[in-house]
């Protein structure tokens, strides 16, 4: 579904991504983790072309993201994305947030879009918040709306860029619950996160990044059981000490 080959990117002198290669198969959940500044967020933003890259290739469902002839808006409409800071549109109600791209990008009728919004809001447990504005919701509620907004486009894959990092601890689980359910339904997911519990529970593979490199790319059991690289071992021992 998602193929990343030899991806390379620099910001001036800073080498953000160094020949990164990995893939996400259809129905697979891949967690990307690593210390801050390791390039995880940049990598995931390259997948739908939000970040340009210097060399290498990314294909999503057989379509090359870096190809100048690719209709990027059309491709992005098929890939859902959830951000660290939710990024709901503050001037629209929850329902309008979920309907905007359905109507303007997919050309759905208003009734059709609102019916879809209602069913997705029910699914994330927020039917009673449909007419509120994002600023009136808690962080956890906003992130669940953001997930519903992405799902409304019937995506072939979902990208999550640290979806719980901006949340208070007690709100993290309500968002993770929705994500776990999504994974169990067979959604193709690439998730940048520090939530190792989530990785253990639903990830098929874990990609560990450090200093712009993919240091380890292993199935979940072997990543947690016997990480090969010293850097991954050090990262895991620090992060799992407190779990």
């Amino acid at each position: 579904m998602i193929e990343i080959r030899d991806l390379d990117k620099r910001y001036g002198d800073f080498h953000v991504l160094k020949r990164c290669s990995t893939s996400v198969a259809k129905g697979e959940v891949v967690v990307v983790c690593g210390p801050s500044g390791s390039g995880k967020s940049t990598l995931i933003k390259c997948v739908n072309g939000l970040e340009p890259f210097d060399s290498g290739t990314i294909t999503v469902d057989g379509i090359s993201v870096g190809d100048r002839r690719t209709d990027l808006p059309k491709l992005r409409a098929r890939i859902g994305m959830v951000f660290q800071n939710f990024e709901l549109y503050p001037h629209m109600t929850v329902t309008r947030n979920i309907c905007l791209a359905q109507e303007k990008v997919l050309g759905r009728s208003r009734d059709e879009a609102e019916a879809k919004a209602a069913s997705l809001l029910a699914r994330v447990g927020l039917s009673d918040q449909a007419h509120k504005h994002p600023g009136q919701l808690s962080g956890g509620q906003q992130q669940r709306v953001a997930i519903a907004r992405a799902l409304a486009m019937d995506p072939i894959a979902m990208l999550f860029d640290e979806p719980t990092s901006a949340l208070d601890p007690e709100m993290i689980s309500e968002v993770l619950d929705v994500m776990v359910e999504l994974a169990q339904e067979g959604m193709t997911m690439m998730v940048v996160t520090h939530e190792m519990g989530f990785a253990r529970k639903v990830a098929g593979r874990v990609v560990f990044m450090d200093c712009g490199e993919i240091v380890e790319d292993a199935d979940t059991a072997s990543f947690f059981g016997s990480p090969r690289s010293p850097r991954a071992q050090a990262f895991l021992s620090k992060i799992l000490d407190h779990v």
């Binding site: 859902g80 549109y89 001037h91 990008v105 509120k132």
Partner: protein, 239 residues
């Protein structure tokens, strides 16, 4: 000080008529100039945020040209100099056939000057929206045009309603400079009443009160707009 107060002069013929006509021209100059300022300022302000370097450069040049020359000098330039610089046929048309030449010149001059200021506010509004909003819009498949139409402009305008209100008020006050090129607006009429009656205190008091009534009405109207456009739970909108 021996001064013969005579407030009644303001209600006498023809002075009352002059005041009313002055108010009419003040409103006509300001409203038309505001339409130009808002439309052109929005286009230039948006252009300054676009990725294309040439579009951005042209918009920046517009802003720097029109905000760095005193408004009074700009009005003189539009009125006395620009017609001479135009190709001969156009220049002759401007000087001979342009309808209401003083009024039109004042509207264009005031409109362009204020557009440069509105443009900077529109730009600052758009640029104060977190970059994540743009990413979220693009990620959902919106094109750049749709992103501006549905997200950046609606939010950006909401954020700049307070400074935009000040700009709108300033255009009414700046419209008084139109008297220098011969528009008989409120200030010009007050001066004319003074010259005819020597009742300067009354005439300019009347002008002052009328300006304040106009600007306070605009402030109230913009306050209504601000309340209607507020984003619930958002910092700038209050709860």
């Amino acid at each position: 000080m021996s001064y013969n107060w005579n407030w009644g002069v303001l209600l006498q013929d023809p002075y009352l008529g002059w005041l009313i006509s002055g108010v009419g021209w003040t409103l006509a100059v300001s409203a038309a100039a505001w339409v130009i300022a808002f439309a052109l300022g929005s286009i230039v302000g948006v252009a300054r945020t676009l990725p294309n370097r040439f579009v951005r450069g042209a918009a920046t040049a517009f802003v720097e040209l029109f905000r760095n020359i005193p408004l009074l000098v700009q009005l003189f330039l539009w009125y006395f100099v620009v017609p001479e610089l135009l190709p001969e046929d156009w220049g002759r048309w401007v000087k001979r056939d342009l309808p209401l030449p003083e009024y039109t010149t004042a509207v264009v001059g005031l409109g362009f000057y204020t557009a440069s200021r509105v443009a900077e506010q529109v730009r600052s509004g758009i640029e104060s929206i977190p970059r994540g909003q743009t990413l979220a819009g693009y990620a959902s498949g919106l094109t750049t045009g749709q992103l501006y139409r549905y997200i950046l402009l609606p939010v950006g305008y909401r954020l700049i309603i307070p400074p935009l209100t000040s700009e709108f008020l300033t255009i009414f006050k700046n419209s008084s400079l139109a008297l220098t090129i011969g528009v008989l607006e409120l200030t010009a009429q007050s001066r004319q009443i003074t010259e005819y009656t020597f009742q300067g205190f009354e005439a300019f008091t009347a002008a002052t009160v009328i300006y304040v009534v106009i600007t306070l009405s605009v402030t109230a109207a913009m306050g209504l707009v601000e309340r209607r456009a507020r984003m619930p739970g958002f910092i700038a909108g209050g709860r």
